[in-house]
Amino acid sequence: MITFKHIYKSFGKHVVFEDLNLDLEKGGIWSVLGPNGSGKTTLMKILLGLVVPDKGTILMDGEEILKQDLYRKKINYMPQIARFPENLKVREIIAMIHDIRQQPADEIALVNRFDLGSYLDVPLKNLSGGTRQKVNAVLAFMHDNPVIVLDEPTVGLDPVTLLKLKELIQEEKDKGKLILLTTHITGLVEEISDQIVFLLEGKVFFQGTLDHLFQKTGQDNLERSMAAIMEHGISNIDSDDSKITSHYA
């Protein structure tokens, strides 16, 4: 569905991507992993057109999307840090995003699901971090679109809400959608991911299923696998598989 081709991006002297290639070929939950600063958020922002890559192309359903705008109709986005205009009320921000997107939305069900009913008329500046994140989730899930991009969606959520969010992600996946997710909670990745994308040093270091990753690293859980990759690089890992790309080799 979405293909990144030869993406280069640096911020000043700091190189984030150097010839990054990634093919998200089908629906399902794709977890983007990598150490801090490996470009997980940048990858999502490039997809959304928020960050402009230095070079490269992105195809979505066969169409070039960079420098376009309307393709974003097909993408729902939940940013990492939920920051809103301070004076708007929850009800108003929902209405506003709805008005801008002009797509059928199911906000009432989501508001009830996240118990936001009593907050609808509260200005956003008076909400706690977790409640803001819930509003953020409502905004990201209320439209029915084939691609959902979630950047650290679990930050600040209590366990009950986290469970609800997990259910919601599963339901959307079952509709055949493509969900691109970053999170530092390895448990969540192990639980729901169909595919893992591991970013390291400006490239896609590994792409495949969780079992595949365990097999390659010789570990039996995600934390250890990640640690193994970050400590030893590819040299320690059997790289006969074409999915593993390395620039050390």
Partner: protein, 260 residues
């Protein structure tokens, strides 16, 4: 673009800033009208205040508004709208709400003093036009500076410097160069130099309209001599339009390449 405009305009017109600004203009206008008791004299006094205040208001509120809504821009730019439309909408929302505060703040007192049935009505409209143009121009400059500077402190600093330059330094340099090159013909130079500073050409515009030759000053006299009032006014209006459009263009160019 209209939707972004609608939301930022609604947000701003409800905010206390627009209200305070409107009250400020109103208080000053009422005060001057009360003290001078003469519409044309009040217009001249107001002119001096407006030439100083409006650029400051435009550039400071512009820069503050931009940096304040920056977090929000990430959410909106992830929606299916064009970057260009987002930035234009924000700019129009802010600059028009400021213009409305200005026009109401000045307009209400003058209307109450019967400006419409006096012979000062055209002078008054010229003052309104020049003041509004200054707000539009300096708002656009602020948005350009803010878009091009990710660092808030740098953005603020550059904006203040820009205002200082146009409001104070420019005239000093201008006068100095007139003195240094006094043995050369300086008419064309002074016309160009005036058109290159929005505050200067706004002053000349009002002077030409008021037709108070005592207040013309050198540049006013040059404009009057070369173009007569009518062509001079047209020329300045054209310059004002260019002065609004070019910073907006630069802002859009900077926005196109910007990472959020």
């Amino acid at each position: 673009m209209l939707k972004i405009f609608k939301y930022s305009f609604q947000d701003l017109i409800r905010s206390k800033w627009s209200f305070i600004l409107g009250l400020f203009y109103m208080a000053v206008t009422f005060g001057l009208l009360y003290m001078s008791n003469d519409l044309s004299r009040a217009i001249v006094s107001l002119m001096n205040i407006i030439l100083f205040i409006n650029p400051l208001v435009g550039i400071m509120l512009g820069i503050m508004y931009y940096y304040n809504s920056r977090d929000f821009s990430e959410l909106l730019l992830a929606q299916p709208i064009k970057r260009k439309d987002y930035f234009l909408g924000q700019y129009l929302g802010l600059s028009l709400s400021l213009v409305i505060s200005f026009v109401l703040g000045l307009g209400v007192p003058f209307l109450l003093y019967g400006v419409l049935v006096s012979d000062a009505v055209v002078n008054f409209l010229t003052l309104m036009f020049a003041g509004s143009a200054l707000v539009l121009i300096f708002c656009a400059l602020a948005f350009w500076v803010a878009t091009a500077n990710e660092n808030k402190i740098k953005g603020f600093g550059k904006a203040i410097l820009l205002w200082l330059f146009f409001a104070i330094l420019y005239d000093g340099i201008f006068l100095l160069s007139l003195l240094v090159f006094e043995s050369y013909p300086l008419e064309k130079f002074s016309i160009a130099a005036t058109l290159l500073n929005p505050i200067d050409f706004s002053r000349v515009l009002i002077m030409l309209q008021l037709d108070v030759s005592l207040l013309f000053g050198y540049t006013g006299a040059v404009f009057n001599k070369f173009f007569g009032s009518y062509v001079g006014i047209l020329l300045i209006t054209g310059a004002a339009v260019i002065w609004v459009i070019s910073p907006i263009f630069m802002m859009l160019r900077a926005a196109k390449r910007k990472d959020f």
